[in-house]
């Protein structure tokens, strides 16, 4: 009688232990999935070919920095969130020969009346103006920068607007440069001036779209 009772108790303990292990494992799996962040989207489209822009006569870069080391630059890039979209890339400042700089000629906040006549404070579109060759900043040799590169002024202006909304700051360097080497830094993410789709390669008269 006592022996049967002991066996039954052992079985109960084993059953409860197994049940607890199963529940704990399920919770752990869910927690890990949640922490690692499963890919938000489902299937994605085709990948575009990354073009570095080395060899093109001139590009525009929207840059932040400089930073003393690559680690510092990557940590700064990781702190800036653009939601699903690609933000800044990281590269050596030495990979850029700077021709001149752009000034932001639009305000960050303006007042306007909406369709119903109400006064509202808005963040207007960004407008940049080229200040000329030889005017503006250059980078300290050996430093690192956050940047995204464009072939047209419109592409740079759109990115500055996104970066302003995403970071709450419009403190960026916008420079006309030649890329001397280094990795892919975002070329191709701007509309083609003819409105057909993205600008996947250099334009015949690229400089005229930069001023």
């Amino acid at each position: 009688m006592n022996g049967a009772l002991v066996v039954r108790r052992r079985r109960t303990v084993v059953a409860w232990t197994l049940a607890l292990a199963v529940v704990t494992s399920a919770v752990a799996v869910l927690a890990i999935r949640s922490l690692s962040g499963a890919a938000p989207g489902g299937a994605r489209g085709p990948a575009e070919r990354p073009v570095t822009g080395v060899g093109e006569p001139s590009l525009i870069i929207v840059a932040k920095g400089p930073f003393a080391s690559e680690e510092e630059a990557r940590a700064a890039a990781a702190r800036l969130s653009f939601g699903e979209m690609q933000g800044f890339y990281v590269d050596r400042a030495d990979n850029y020969q700077v021709f001149g700089s752009y000034a932001k000629v639009s305000p960050d906040v303006a007042e306007r009346r909406n369709e119903r006549g109400e006064l509202e404070r808005v963040a207007p579109p960004v407008a940049l103006r080229y200040r000329g060759d030889g005017v503006g900043s250059t980078f300290t040799p050996g430093t690192w920068i956050l940047l995204s590169a464009f072939r047209t002024l419109r592409g740079a202006e759109e990115f500055v607007e996104l970066a302003r909304a995403a970071t709450g700051s419009s403190d960026f360097l916008v420079l006309r440069v030649r890329k001397l080497g280094g990795p892919y830094v975002g070329l191709g993410q701007e509309p083609h001036p003819d409105g057909s789709g993205p600008l996947r390669g250099p334009l015949p008269n690229q400089e005229s779209f930069q001023k």
């Binding site: 938000p40 989207g41 489902g42 575009e48 699903e84 690609q86 808005v122 607007e161 191709g188 993410q189």
Partner: protein, 201 residues
Amino acid sequence: MLGNVRFGRRWAWLVGLAALVIGLPAVAAWAGHWAANGWKDMHYNYPPRPDGYSGIVSVFGQPCNSNASAITMYWPAADDGISYRVVFHKKLGGAPVSGWSTGKGGLSTNLDNDVRGHIGNAHLDPYVLGGIWGYYCRYIQGTTTWSTHAWGIAIDQNARYEHYGHCHIHTMHPTVIQIFKDHRWVQLRCDPMHFQYATGY
């Protein structure tokens, strides 16, 4: 003494009734003032919601094409009081609405009139926070694959407070989410700030 009490009760009833008669229409007007000012949900000419990359290209064209950034609206953020520019595809808004909007050359009433109007009409503007944007010709982070933002068919809200890749919500109001869903928009499970007019992508 008893008479005074009865008289007082009658007065209390009368005052209560008067408050109801005057107050109810005022509350109703306050509760739906967008509608009272002429806004109406039109549900006009919504495009089909595409599935996957080829479906998106078939309905909305190439990423970053000129229609993707054809319509602009300003959406106020409650946290800083600034209205942010939301640019989006011509097929998702910008059509005129009689007595409300003269239109912006768009083909439907989806985003700027219907979704935006429902959120305003339901007094949910205090829950729409900074980090608001629509079209940008950008890839998905860490890839060279187009984001749905590049077609002007995605909008992010509350991006300052929500986190890409986190599968939980911090600040998005459930009714705001439902309003987007009721108008064919999809919220991604692990990107709670992001609504897109497409599935399978």
